[in-house]
Each structure stands twice: as C-alpha cells, then as structure tokens.
C-alpha cells in the first residue's frame, strides 16, 4: 500500500490541529466579545447520504462585519434587519459505516465564511448560509477479513488505509425557536470530499450532514444583534 503511514501522520495532524485552535483561541482573547464565541455542533453524517454516521465538531466565528437596515413593519413600527458576515474556523470528527464494505473515520479542520441574518422582525430568529474549505485526515477500516500473501501462504491483517481529504462544503441553517440570546440552530450541510490517493489518482466522495449547532456562550446578548 502506498497510502500514508497512519500513526506518525495522524500525530502531526492532531498536534497541528491543537496548535491552530490554541493560537486562534488566545491570540484573539482581547476581542473575545459577546459577538463571537465557540460553538459546538453534532449531527448525522451520511457518506453518500445513506451510509450512516455521526459527526461532532467545534467552530469559532471571528472577524465579523455587521450591516443594519431599518424596515417598516406592515402593521406597526419600524424594525431592524441585521446581516452579519463572519469567518469561521472549525475542527470536526466524523465516522460513517457502509454495510458490507467499510467504516470511515475523518478528522478535519475547516475555514469558511458565514452570512447570518435575522428573519423579518423576529429578533431571535435567524437563517444562515456558509461555505467552507477543509482539509482532513481520512482513515478507513475494511469490514470482513483481509488477507495478503506471505511467505507461508496468507496472513490475516487489519485491512485499512489512510488518505488526506481536502473538502469543499456548503451549509444552510436556521435558528430554533427560543427566547435565549444564543438560540440553537438546525442545519444541513453538503460536502464534496476528495480522497487522495485513491487507485491511480483520487476519488470524489459526497456526504450529507444534518444536525444542531449551539454556542458555548452564556452571554445574554445575541450573537448577531448588538
């Protein structure tokens, strides 16, 4: 197998991930305002939509731009529409299972942009769009038994392999009904993932993800409205 050697690469990857998160978390400590705080997300991760799995991740929004526009209500006084554009950086762990074929494990870091706005005059109802570029470490475990020829016939081995997995994804979400300043969101996310190496080149994988996002913040101020 010409795939990456699993353990050393994975260690480097985890170290890099930790270092990256640490830098972002603390270098921006002074601007760690009520507008931006760590979020966690969990959801269904379906490789090819129907090969079921789970995903969990954290993300950190930063560097926002806020636009406020006033609008008249149909009945009643004026209200504000807030549009916020922000960068997000995140890291995720995902797992999926294709019956009678293989299990896949994926660790990724993602960087992208999110546009979030409130829905009409409801202060705590938002929708958002986001796109993200990612880079991941992918490991698969073949189901069943794997054998390879040896000097004494065949040896049973753990059938697996590793690859790097760049990705491009887009996400849409809307807030759950809540009176809290930081409502949760439900979202749907479409991934295109590129497994490298595969065969004599690479393989495209598609995944559909759906879940919830919540903020770690206990602030009483909304993440979008000042």
């Amino acid at each position: 197998m010409n795939s990456l050697k699993p353990l050393p690469h994975f260690s480097f990857f985890l170290f890099g991930l930790y270092f990256f998160s640490y830098q972002i978390g603390w270098s921006q400590d002074s601007t760690f305002s009520q507008f931006e705080s760590l979020e966690w997300e969990v959801g269904y991760f379906g490789e090819f939509a129907t090969h079921p799995g789970l995903k969990a991740g954290i993300s950190y929004p930063f560097g926002h731009k806020l636009k406020v526009r006033e609008k008249e209500k149909k009945y009643g006084g004026p209200f504000q529409i807030y549009k916020k554009r922000q960068w997000i950086v995140g890291s995720n762990l995902a797992f999926y299972h294709q019956p009678n074929n293989h299990n896949g494990y994926l660790a990724t870091i993602e960087l992208g942009k999110r546009r979030i706005k409130n829905k009409s005059y409801y202060r705590n109802r938002y929708t958002f769009w986001a796109w993200e570029l990612g880079f991941g470490y992918y490991r698969y475990q073949l189901l069943g038994n794997t054998f390879r020829p040896s000097a004494i016939g065949f040896e049973k081995i753990r059938g697996n392999g590793t690859a790097i997995m760049p990705s491009l994804s887009c996400q849409w979400g809307r807030s759950l009904k809540s009176k809290k300043a930081h409502p949760g969101f439900i979202y749907i996310k479409f991934h295109s993932l590129y497994e490298v190496p595969f065969g004599t080149g690479f393989q495209l994988r598609l995944a559909l993800e759906s879940g919830v996002i919540y903020s770690f913040s206990q602030d009483t101020v909304s993440p979008i409205q000042p």
Partner: protein, 358 residues
C-alpha cells in the same frame, strides 16, 4: 432446584449442534490485498459443496456484484448449489488501494486471480473445485490466466460467456453482425427502422485499417451496445427475468447496497487511463488458446453485437481442450448476457457442466 436448572440449561445448550447445516449459505466478505490493491470478494452460497465458481466480471472496470444483484436466477440457482465468489478486480467495482497506473497490467491481474484461487482454497478447503466463469472482459482475463499450465492445473473447469479473447477480431465481427441485422430489420420495416438505418450508416461509414487500435474498438463497442438495446426493444432477444420491483431494488441497491457507486465510477474512469485495453488489443489470444486443455464450456448469445458468436466458434476451434471436453452453446434469443436473457437455460447448462466434472 436452581442448581438442577443450571445443569439442565448447560446440558441443553451443550447438546445443541454447532456444526453447520448441510444447506447453510455463506455470506462472507473477504479482501485480498496485493501489489497496492485491496480487492473485495463476496463469497456467497453453498460453500460446503466443495465447488467454488469465481465470477470474472466484464469491463475492464466493471463490477462483480452486478451478477449477484441483477442476474437473480443465475445467482440464486448457483448459490443454492455452490459457493460463488464475486471478485472485484483491481481498479474495478469496489476495489481500493493506491498504485502507479504504469504497474497495472493483464499479467498483474492474472497474478491477483492466482492468489485469489490460493486464498479460497486455504479458506474453504484445499480440495475445493474451482470453476472460472468469465464474462466479456472476464473472458479475456480467464483465457489469459489459463495459458499458464501451472495455473491451469488449479482450475477444474472454464466457463467462457461471450468472452473477448480477441479484441481486433471481435471488432470486425461486430461490424459484420450489425450490418447483417440492421439490413434485415430495415427490410422487415420494423418500427425502429430509422434507428437501424443509423446503425447501418455507422457501419458503412466506418473504415477499419489493418491495425485496430483502442479508439476503433471503443467506437464500435459503443455502437454495438446501442444495437444490443435496439434488438432487445424489438423483441429479438428474450426479456429474461421480469421483476416488477426492478427500479426500486436498483435504487435501494444504489444507495444502501454493498457497493459504492462513486468508487465504481472512479475505478471505471481510472482503468480507462491505464494501458490494460491497449495491452489486450495488442495481444489477441486466439493463436495461444491451444495451450489451454481445461474442460471448457463456451456460452454465446446469437445476437451479441459486443462480442459476436463468431468469437465463440473461434475459441472452440482454437482451444487445446479435447473435443469431448469442450462445448459451444449458442443462445438463440440472447445478446451479450445470456444469463439475463435466457437465465433458466443458462443455469441448466452451467450446472450440467459443473456436475459432469465433479
């Protein structure tokens, strides 16, 4: 009292037979890792029969599970009697791994097959009778494999189904058959007359040089597939298995099945970038088939535009197998896949062949 109960339960379960029932059906997934590739083999059916039929799928770059999921009669009937190994060749179907495309060759695929036979005999018994069933491209691979006497000794019987052992020659035969059938259909003024006229125009406008290359073959092959569909819709070939839930089953298999459609597609694209087909075109096997003496069953569809029945005759005439151990059967109402067009007859003939050699 409790102690008696424990003893009773212990004796009851201790007496439960653990040996498999005679009709036990295996459903094993094994992977063969060799020279950079991880190739899945789904072994299904009656593996205690001491007979294993290895499916050599078409392509290059097809997949073996299609024979399990769409040729239901063949799969069910063969699996009831024998073990059937659905093997995805390297860069085909669900195979994985990573390697340099320059390393891929017919010989490497034959080495994979050789290892697979050894592995199956190690797992299911050293006296396992191996039968190779090669369809289309699998016919080339199987014939190539059997050219080596040492490898030949491991195989009890060879079932060649519309096998492409001579690609330059089959390309010429395909053009001839398309011309013959399209003229007949145009003469009969069938509803699809216009489409047959298009095929005839293609044949008449196509000029084959002395040397047939991959482009020639691919162009003729695509037209032959069209002719095959047309013959089917005109009722020239039999409908075979009718399954009212075919679409639903297809969708379920696509999204929830054992195979991964994107992996299969990627492999199909990648294998077309290798030299496999060029190598097979440059090495037609007709003149070498004399080296094969394995008992052989040659099965061809009369209206196979992809690998015409003349190729069956060519294989029959050139095989080194004694006349009383080789048979050519032409399926009158079949195209490139008699196991789909005339499944009952197909199974009867295959089972008869295997039983005759056990």
């Amino acid at each position: 009292m409790k102690a008696y109960l424990h003893i009773f339960l212990l004796l009851t379960f201790a007496c439960t037979p653990e040996s498999p029932k005679p009709d036990q059906q295996s459903r094993d997934l094994i992977w063969l890792e060799h020279a950079g590739a991880q190739m899945p083999v789904w072994v299904e059916g009656n593996t205690i029969s001491n007979v294993m039929v290895i499916i050599l799928h078409g392509g290059p770059g097809g997949n073996a599970l299609i024979y399990n999921e769409t040729s239901i009669t063949m799969a069910t009937e063969l699996e009831e009697r024998y073990g059937v190994a659905y093997w995805d060749q390297r860069i085909s179907g669900n195979s994985r791994g990573s390697f340099d495309e320059k390393e891929v060759s017919v010989e490497l695929m034959a080495e994979d097959l050789d290892l697979l036979i050894d592995l199956l005999q190690e797992l299911y018994g050293p006296t396992l009778d191996i039968f190779l069933l090669g369809h289309s491209w699998g016919g080339y691979l199987g014939s190539y494999y059997l050219l080596d006497p040492e490898r030949q000794a491991k195989v009890r019987g060879w079932i060649d189904v519309d096998g492409a052992h001579n690609i330059p020659s089959l390309t010429r035969d395909a053009l001839e058959l398309m011309e013959e059938v399209s003229r007949a259909q145009i003469g009969a003024d069938v509803d699809s007359r216009e489409k047959w006229e298009d095929i005839l125009a293609f044949v008449e406008g196509f000029s084959l040089g002395n040397v047939i290359d991959t482009d020639d073959f691919v162009e003729v092959n695509l037209q032959a597939i069209e002719a095959e569909k047309l013959a089917f819709s005109d009722g020239l070939t039999a409908e075979g298995e009718e399954d009212p839930n075919e679409l639903l089953k297809g969708l379920l298999s696509y999204f929830f099945g054992k195979h991964h459609p994107l992996t299969a597609l990627t492999n199909r694209i990648q294998i077309n970038q290798t030299q496999i087909l060029d190598e097979a075109i440059a090495n037609p096997l007709s003149d070498q088939l004399l080296r094969i003496t394995t008992p052989s069953l040659l099965l061809w569809g009369k209206l196979d535009f992809v690998v015409p029945p003349n190729q069956g005759l060519d294989a029959y005439n050139n095989l080194g197998t004694p006349d009383n151990q080789k048979t050519l059967v032409i399926f009158e109402e079949s195209g490139h896949s008699p196991m789909s067009n005339e499944p009952d007859l197909f199974v009867d003939i295959v089972v008869g062949f295997i039983e005759g050699l056990r």
